[in-house]
């Protein structure tokens, strides 16, 4: 395939003395959708939070190992805001800010110093279109974002993340609270975004990983059990534990 976007090297994460991620080595390739599946407390979310450096403010958090974004260490070579701009994150629950639809999308560019109304207008329109939300909200951009439905809020969050022009987008169970139709729309958006972004999708829904991801990794108890092309993980898994999980025998 193509070149490596993100290199995760021997990454271990601890909250206090509790180890949540054990020595993970993983290369994420440019423009792929990497699915990460696994049961609860397998370390999937912790991995995403470490990639966005959201754990920085968590007391007693400790990490070992490195993460390189195109060769640059995200913990030492780059300022934290730059890491978060280049590696965006979508949370499990849609988290629109208590602002209007427009301001939610414009928030990111604004914090990065963009104040020209014309350019902001353009960013808002383009990103809302990329997130398949524009047609539903174009006549009420000044309405509070909180009034959108759950699925619309989640797509708004995707648009908001796109607005700061990230290179990598992390999804933390983005559809866990959404109905099947909203889920389909979010998945459609992800597929369309493949040409421009590298995406990592953490999901509890193995079928979702099967539908949208190019490669899939299976995590269990903080370890990465297996990673392979998605069709292989779901048809001829190498590890017994992966097979049990994807066939629904546990988890």
């Amino acid at each position: 395939m193509s070149e490596t976007k993100l290199q995760i090297q021997n990454l271990s994460l601890y909250y206090g003395t509790h180890q949540v991620l054990k020595n993970i080595c993983l290369d994420v390739l440019s423009h792929e959708i990497l699915g990460i599946i696994g049961p609860a407390s397998s370390g999937k979310t912790s991995l995403l939070r470490a990639l966005n450096r959201l754990n920085d403010d968590v007391p007693k958090f400790r990490k070992e190992g490195e993460v390189l974004l195109e060769g640059e260490n995200i913990y030492t070579d780059l300022p934290v805001w730059m890491v978060r701009k280049r590696i965006g994150m979508i949370f499990a629950l849609p988290t629109p800010l208590p602002l209007s639809i427009y301001e939610n999308v414009a928030y990111g560019p604004r914090v990065h110093g963009m104040n020209q109304k014309k350019i902001l207008d353009k960013i808002v329109e383009e990103t809302l279109q990329s997130a398949f939300l524009w047609d539903e909200v174009k006549d009420r951009l000044d309405h509070p974002a909180m009034r959108l439905s759950g699925g619309q809020q989640q797509r708004l969050c995707i648009a908001r993340t796109l607005a700061v022009q990230p290179e990598v987008i992390l999804y933390d169970e983005p559809c866990s609270g959404l109905d099947p139709i909203s889920t389909a729309k979010v998945e459609e958006a992800m597929t369309m975004l493949k040409s421009r972004y590298t995406q990592i999708l953490v999901t509890n829904n193995t079928k979702q990983a099967a539908r949208v991801s190019d490669r899939t990794a299976f995590f269990l108890m903080g370890e990465m059990v297996e990673i392979n092309k998605t069709e292989k993980i779901f048809t001829i898994p190498q590890d017994k534990r992966t097979e049990d999980y994807v066939s629904g025998r546990f988890g």
């Binding site: 959201l54 890491v83 701009k85 949370f91 988290t95 914090v111 908001r160 993340t161």
Partner: protein, 296 residues
């Protein structure tokens, strides 16, 4: 196993009695407020039988024992206003900053110490703050501004700012902390710095709580009596600057109620001041609770 339950009949009576008792306790507080207000009205409104309404509200001289008495409350309202506004101007920015620091920036252990200390400040009786102010602050103000007396509206404002701080800080801190973590992480995940997150997301999200805190702080300040009486100089003249002695509405009532002949014009004029105060604080609390409601 089949168990047969048979509840004793008195359970129903207990239920009934408790319900009524709680209802009674709730209604009593409302009745008391209504009675207090009625009593105020009854004693205060008598004034306007002998004394013209406009002279009371727009008169600029307060000399109740002159002959005939002059009962204009403009100097007292201005006194209260000067002291309150001064206190708010000092307490609000300080309080906002302190609350933000405690809620967002201070590390865990320091947070507890700071919050505890600020709340402890609220426990100091106002009279104690008053006499500390009298012996430390008043001479200081006198020396700094080279004025004949340090007993001024300005000194009172500083003192009251101290008293309003705990209310403001502690309520604001609560409302900042009540902002969902998701907002914070949502903003941070976009690359916003801590200050950008506080300024553009947290403060707007907590704004109704912040405004409510300010209103309650003002309510506390405008109703304060003893400390103000001790350090504002107690002179019921029309103030022109903050560096002059003033007298607030509360201090006037406290100082003169003892010597006013019951049933006299002077006596009922003090009650009328009480009504004015009551209405002002009522409006302030109403605004505050409107802000708190909007948050929900």
């Amino acid at each position: 196993m089949e168990v047969k339950f048979s509840r004793p009949a008195h359970h129903r009576w207990i239920e009934f009695a408790v319900e009524k008792a709680i209802f009674g306790a709730g209604i009593i507080s409302i009745i008391f407020v209504a009675l207090i207000f009625l009593f105020l009205l009854k004693e205060g409104l008598v004034l306007f039988r002998h004394y013209p309404f406009t002279n009371f509200f727009f008169g600029i001289q307060w000399s109740p024992i002159s002959e005939p008495p002059r009962l204009g409350i403009v100097p007292l309202i201005l006194g209260s206003l000067a002291v309150t506004l001064g206190a708010v101007v000092m307490a609000v920015p300080l309080g906002v900053c302190a609350a933000i620091y405690i809620a967002e920036i201070a590390p865990g252990w320091l947070k507890d110490i700071l919050k505890g200390t600020v709340e402890f400040l609220a426990a100091i009786p106002s009279i104690v703050l008053g006499f500390i102010g009298l012996v430390t602050l008043v001479p200081m103000v006198k020396n700094i501004f080279h004025i004949p007396t340090g007993l001024t509206a300005f000194s009172g404002s500083i003192m009251l700012a101290f008293m309003a701080m705990p209310t403001i800080v502690s309520m604001m801190e609560d409302s900042l902390r009540a902002v969902p973590r998701a907002y914070r992480e949502g903003a941070l995940a976009l690359g916003a710095t801590r200050w950008q997150t506080i300024y553009r997301v947290l403060i707007p999200a907590a704004s109704s709580g912040i405004l409510a805190a300010v209103m309650l702080g003002i309510g506390r300040v405008i109703g304060e009596t003893m400390a103000v009486m001790m350090i504002t100089g107690n002179s019921a003249r029309l103030p022109t600057t903050l560096l002059e002695p003033v007298r607030t509405m509360t201090a006037t009532i406290a100082a003169e109620m003892g010597e006013a002949v019951q049933g006299s014009t002077h006596y009922s004029s003090l009650f009328a001041i009480g009504i004015v105060l009551f209405i002002i604080t009522f409006l302030i609390n109403l605004t505050a609770s409107a802000f708190i409601k909007r948050r929900k």
